[in-house]
Amino acid sequence: MTQLALVIDLNVCVGCSACVTSCKEWNTSGESGGGMSDKNPYGKDPTGTFFNRVQTFEVGEYPKVETVHFPKSCLHCEDPPCVPVCPTGASYKRKEDGIVLVDYDKCIGCKYCSWACPYGAREIDEKQKVMKKCTLCVDRIYDMSLPEERRKPSCVLACPTSARLFGDVHDPDSEVSTAIAERGGYQLMPEWGTRPSNHYLPRRKTKAHVTEEALHRIDNPLKKEEQRTPVSSDLPTLDDFLF
């Protein structure tokens, strides 16, 4: 079974929000869904619908502090609590690839599913009055008119630091599964048993470990030469024997 998902590397995310804007651009101008409406986009309190948001957290206390940029979108849970609560069946999880979607033609905008998502990943569209959320760009990842390397969610293509990986987390050999296994990928709020498909890769300390020995090699041939006892001119040389 396939389970498509994103793996987000918090170690390299710089919080530039390129994924946010490219997501908004693709999903607003795309053919599906009728866009993501905004209110006061250029006014005092701009607000609107987003599938993806980058938040920033400060961990620790000055001077020992780290800034964590944290992109957050629907995690396409393997056991999504938002799906069974939907009274209309508008929210569903696709069998073939595990993407959790909302059928905008069936949704009645009761917001119950947004209550049932512990991550706050769903947002109502104030104009269309239906629930919206990340679709993993379902309308482009299967688009055969695109070259294969472009058949990825918009956010993944936009990320300048390659912090976003996309693939099948059920395939043990995929890029995403390898990243999760090798770099300690984890899930958000594991305590609720939702089993999110999206994983996050933790921050790492990228420190090079340089020892004294590595800088001054004991067996450095140059150093060995330096340590040679200086040749005294009083002693007979080879030339003395030859001539």
Partner: protein, 324 residues
């Protein structure tokens, strides 16, 4: 959570409607089995059913304001196998319809005796009423479970939610019935007033217990599990929106703690203390006005109780919106 007035009115109105019907039916059972001396006038049942249907209708009307696309509301019955909301959407009209039939049987005076044991006649309306009564109880379960089924809203995820919805609905319904019976001068007033006191007092106990429980909740989710960073000091400095978002509007009440505290004290007084006092005085002196005032005050109090119920719930998604 943001307390939406549509849902506050929906739950309180239908809760009272169900309670009122159960009271009317209790009256019929009492009459049938001779618990209360003289038979209640059927005008009490007819007026009562009318009131039940008005309450249910108003509740349904209020609920439409909660929907983004009310014109598609009929779809909401499809997923009854998994969704308590869908179940409520089915049971609500089923109960209203059954209550309507019950009232109509009384109105047209069609009440053939189905079975008779000589002393007790089991009539058609008694059976219809039983079905409607069971649906009323089922509807309390559905309404309560809508909230209790969301396991990560820890204030709600408890059987107490269903118990409180049921008891408070019954209390408001029976207090309404007591006033109604007093208006019609029925001897059922005593029984209704008695039950009002029982439900209100027991409801007071369970509601206090849920307040006690909710004051001591140990949160399962923390900022650490939310972003997966193990550190005791995590502070949010940006939430990905400048002018707020759906997440900051839907999941916060945006009121001061003092305001919330005031609402709590207000509802404890108006749902429990004042109605109990009024019912005791009104009952012993057979004063319709006091019984009616008790029902009215209790209903207003329940609006505040429901507001508090929503405001108190702290959704784990708020961990991602700490800057609000």
């Amino acid at each position: 959570m943001h307390p939406a007035f549509s849902v506050i009115f929906l739950t309180t109105l239908i809760g009272a409607g169900q309670g009122l019907f159960l009271a009317l039916y209790t009256g019929q059972v009492y009459n049938t089995f001779g618990v209360v001396g003289d038979a209640a006038p059927s005008s009490l049942y007819i007026a009562g059913t009318f009131l039940v249907l008005v309450l249910m209708g108003l509740g349904l009307f209020a609920s439409f304001f909660h929907l983004g696309r009310p014109e598609r509301a009929w779809r909401a019955a499809t997923k009854w196998k998994t969704s308590w909301l869908a179940r409520e959407v089915i049971v609500l009209p089923a109960f209203s319809g059954m209550a309507f039939i019950w009232g109509a049987l009384h109105y047209f005076n069609i009440d053939p005796v189905l079975v008779t044991t000589g002393t007790v006649d089991i009539s058609l309306s008694l059976v219809v009423g039983l079905l409607a009564g069971l649906l009323a109880l089922l509807l309390y379960l559905c309404t309560g479970m809508i909230y209790a089924a969301i396991k990560f809203i820890q204030e709600w995820a408890s059987p107490l939610t269903v118990i409180n919805y049921t008891l408070l609905g019954l209390a408001s319904g029976f207090s309404l019935a007591a006033a109604l019976a007093a208006w019609f001068g029925s001897s059922l007033t005593n029984a209704y007033a008695g039950w009002t006191l029982v439900f209100t007092l027991v409801g007071f106990g369970t509601r206090m217990f849920s307040l006690y429980r909710n004051g001591r909740i140990k949160r399962k989710s923390t900022a650490c599990t939310a972003i997966g960073v193990r550190h005791p000091k995590i502070r949010q400095i940006s939430q990905g929106a400048m002018g707020g978002s759906f997440n900051t509007r839907e999941f916060f009440h945006h009121k001061s703690p003092q305001f919330v505290q005031t609402v709590k004290v207000f509802f404890l007084i108006t749902v429990f203390i004042v109605p109990i006092t009024l019912v005791v005085i009104g009952w012993s002196n057979h004063l319709f006005t006091l019984l009616a005032a008790a029902a009215l005050v209790q209903y207003v109090g329940l609006l505040a109780e429901r507001w508090f119920f929503f405001a108190q719930a702290n959704h784990p998604q708020n961990l991602y919106y700490q800057a609000t």
